[in-house]
């Protein structure tokens, strides 16, 4: 679904991604971990076609949607309008399929997106991404600034879409516990370079990863 080969992205003279290679297979849920400034959001924006790579190749094997870091809604527009604009690429204008998936959004439909709570906004961002009928979803910081219950709820929806519709997911996270729970494989990015990759079960046992992302050894 996503094939990134030897990708280099720079901002002026600063290199944000340095010869990155990464894949997400069909129906796979893959995590990308890394600290702030590692280049995670740069990768998300490059995959979404918002940033142009300096070199390397990016192949996307289906419709891709991005849930950007910080939700990035249209604050002046209603929830219903936010969702409808999510269908800009797919031509889908009627959000009823998203309301079925996330019934809470139907209740919020007429509210301005800018006045919603963080969790509700993340739900709108999720619904807006689903309006483009994606085959692969890039989620940049699902859990950032959200209460654990809200995160768990959204994560359950992601897992369900993955199971029922084969939606491939690249989950960009600082919360490694959540990432390891949801995903089968993970990459670890630091300063624009991959430092390690592998099955989540193995990475969770890696003392370096555990120290950096799990706050010590996993029990």
């Amino acid at each position: 679904m996503i094939e990134v080969q030897d990708l280099v992205v720079s901002y002026g003279t600063a290199t944000a991604l340095d010869h990155l290679t990464l894949t997400v297979g069909e129906g796979e849920m893959v995590a990308l971990l890394g600290p702030n400034g590692a280049g995670k959001s740069t990768l998300a924006n490059t995959l979404a076609g918002i940033i142009a790579p300096a070199s390397g190749t990016v192949r996307i094997g289906g419709r891709l949607a991005l849930i950007p870091e910080g939700r990035q809604l249209f604050p002046d527009l209603s929830v219903a309008d936010n969702l409808a604009l999510g269908g800009w690429r797919s031509g889908l204008r009627d959000p009823s399929s998203v309301y079925e998936l996330l019934p809470r959004l139907a209740e919020l439909a007429g509210r301005r997106a800018g006045v919603l709570s963080g969790g509700e906004q993340q739900m709108v961002a999720f619904g807006r991404a689903m309006m483009s009928r994606p085959e692969v979803l890039v989620v940049d910081e699902l859990s950032l600034g959200l209460a654990p219950g809200v995160t768990a709820d959204l994560a359950a929806h992601l897992a369900e879409l993955n199971r029922s519709q084969g939606l491939a997911v690249l989950l960009i996270e600082q919360n490694a516990r959540l990432a390891f729970e949801l995903c089968s494989r993970a990459y670890v990015l630091e300063s624009g370079r991959l430092v390690t990759e592998g099955a989540c079960a193995e990475l969770a046992d890696d003392p370096r990863v555990a120290a950096a992302y799990l706050g010590g050894a996993v029990t």
Binding site: I50, P68, L73, F74, L77, L85, W88
Partner: protein, 286 residues
């Protein structure tokens, strides 16, 4: 009293024309972040086109429509020059629009000469509560009201209008959902041209238009747009009406040669007040 009412009604008509210029400025600024100093040019192009087309024997209605479309094309071309190249900053684009305005002088002088031109509008006048008001002034008020209603419906009800609002609200998010923000910016410029064009065809029968009339139009339009912090069309409309009435009153009560100074004075006061409130001028154009 009837003189006062007469100045008030005529002032509202002048304000409506200013509001159309201002709404074009606001539309373009909201979507692209660019202050378009070529906005007055669109009105001049439309006014001069109407004058020529009517002179060539084309009927009313068709002439005005064609002139407004010509202004929309002028808007699109200005947009291509100002934001056509990716990565142009709003400040650089502003300078480009100034350049387009100067270039337009040369083109207009070649095509129409440097003498003011007029066009016949609606003849006659009506009497409202003892005050005389020209029928053309009533037309200006009516068309402006209809235009603002249509604009509100376009931005509030249509998918394309909402996509334009989305670009204004969060350009990054607009790109995330796949909206081509640059193309939307060009659409905003065309719409700005259209609005300027409507102002031009309405004003030409009231005061002759020449290549440099854009200065008066843009000063007034900009003053009203700044009143709405360059982002709020309804407040800009209110500002424009206030300005139109103030100018007409000044002219009516014997300060006719100082109309532009009234606009400039009000604009400076509004800009100082807005700057104190960390307004659009410092935040949104940079």
């Amino acid at each position: 009293m009837s003189a006062f009412l007469s100045y008030l009604l005529n002032g509202l008509a002048v304000g409506c024309a200013i509001a159309l210029i201002a709404s074009g400025l606001v539309t373009i600024h909201r979507v692209t972040g660019v202050v378009n100093f070529a906005q007055g040019t669109f009105a001049v192009v439309a006014g001069l086109c109407t004058s020529s087309l009517l002179g060539l024997g084309f009927p009313h209605g068709l002439s005005e429509l064609a002139a407004v479309l010509a202004a929309a094309v002028a808007g699109l071309l200005t947009g291509l020059a100002a934001i056509g190249k990716r990565g142009t900053t709003p400040l650089a684009s502003l300078i480009v629009t100034l350049g387009v305005g100067v270039l337009a002088y040369a083109v207009e002088i070649v095509l129409w000469g440097d003498q003011p031109r007029s066009a016949p509008g609606l003849a006659g006048s009506v009497t409202v509560a003892g005050a005389h008001i020209q029928t053309q002034h009533l037309l200006v008020i009516g068309v402006t009201a209809a235009t603002f209603v249509l604009l509100a419906l376009f931005f509030g009800r249509t998918y394309l209008g909402k996509a334009l609002t989305a670009c204004a609200s969060n350009p990054y998010a607009a790109r995330v959902v796949g909206i081509d923000v640059r193309r939307m910016g060009l659409l905003a410029f065309a719409l700005g041209g259209l609005l300027g064009g409507i102002a031009g065809v309405l004003v030409t029968p009231l005061r002759p238009i020449s290549f440099d009339t854009d200065v008066t139009l843009i000063v007034n339009g900009f003053a009203a747009a700044v009143f709405g912090a360059l982002t709020r069309p309804v407040i800009a409309l209110f500002g424009a009406l206030l300005l139109g009435v103030a100018e007409t009153m000044a002219a009516g009560y014997g300060y006719g040669s100082h109309q532009l100074e009234v606009a400039l004075g009000l604009m400076i006061i509004v800009m100082i007040v807005q700057a104190g409130r960390r307004s659009a001028i410092s935040e949104e154009t940079v």
